[in-house]
Symmetry: C2
Subunit: 205 residues, 2 copies
Amino acid sequence: MPASATQALGLRDEVAALKRARTVAAAVDLFYENGYENTTLETIGQSLGVTKPFIYAHFRSKVELLADICSRGIATSQEAMDSVLTLDLTPTEKLILLSERFIAGVLENRKHIAIFSREEKNLMPADFDRINGMRRDFDRKLTGLLRAGIDAGEFGIDDPHVAALSIGGMVSWAYVWYRATGRLAPDKLVAEMKELILNMVRVKR
Amino acid sequence: MPASATQALGLRDEVAALKRARTVAAAVDLFYENGYENTTLETIGQSLGVTKPFIYAHFRSKVELLADICSRGIATSQEAMDSVLTLDLTPTEKLILLSERFIAGVLENRKHIAIFSREEKNLMPADFDRINGMRRDFDRKLTGLLRAGIDAGEFGIDDPHVAALSIGGMVSWAYVWYRATGRLAPDKLVAEMKELILNMVRVKR
DNA sequence: AGAAATATCTACTGGTGAGTTTATAAATAT
DNA sequence: ATATTTATAAACTCACCAGTAGATATTTCT
């Protein structure tokens, strides 16, 4: 296989990936603004300057597009968690770092998270189970981190599972009220909410 | 007008109210389980043993049924707030009472809250604005309560608005994970989460 | 340049479900 | 008992939209 063929193939893949990414981005904006069922593939096409069959050339169905968006939203939180758990730090240090990355990720990906939260009933059951499993995995790992902190005498709470769900909720819910044009810049908001989390678990300091 | 006529009229109204309530209850279960768009009025009728025009005799449209459900979900939280604010108590005492009533109300009305959270894009704009206004009112009042606690030296937080949104989120989000068959009985869960809220605002004790 | 493969569009299909119309049954009043 | 009103049902309409087939343009390869 000549080099030019390889390059052409690589380019074609890149073009296809770009088209997929742009389609997803358009769908995110429209699903977020109007809801999944109120958004037609025709409308997504219009916002891209193409027609419906263009989308079908890159996605098998409307619901596959939705599954892609929902996965991405949760994956960000999962990556924040996993990136912190591999570090050699105390539970308190891990919780601080996790809070910062988790909150910042939710603020950035608020549209994806909103869409997953709202549209879960429109996913195929298999996709829902997979993506919801990612969420449960996050909760399990956070519970483990909190339990480690309790055992180390760093956190003063009773029930690490309820605390993990409460932390997950207070942060995830930010998609409901956060506005990019709001009073606080994202990094200030991250700092404020991080402090609230540390308060909540009664970090010794 | 003879007494019998008055009675008959009263009975008829009661019957109509009962039919409305049963219809709403059936819709709550189905919207919660399958989503608003995936639930037909025919299906709601089937679960009641009636047909579609029965529903149209009591509701102007499917979306009016949805608005009813969403209003009720938020109204419970609003009532919890207003019932506490009229009492002559310290900010700490008010926050404790509010937490208990708010959390218990969310657990009880989790389906209504889930439906409002998921289906807001399907509401008529006027209904959405009204119901969302109720939510904002709750946040404003909670912010005020927290600010009063800060001013009284009872709470050790910087930003009462971010704290109010965080408390609202950690509690509201419970609809995502709470199951009636779960590990903790509702009253235990209320007690745990209440403690987390008090921790979060660094109540002096 | 011409052939083959790929990408995209135009136009269509089929199913669905909200809301309505018209008919019928039940309750109420006289 | 009969007339009148009210509640409910059976059957219909109309618009919408996901997904597809076939036509056309564009790119890639030789």
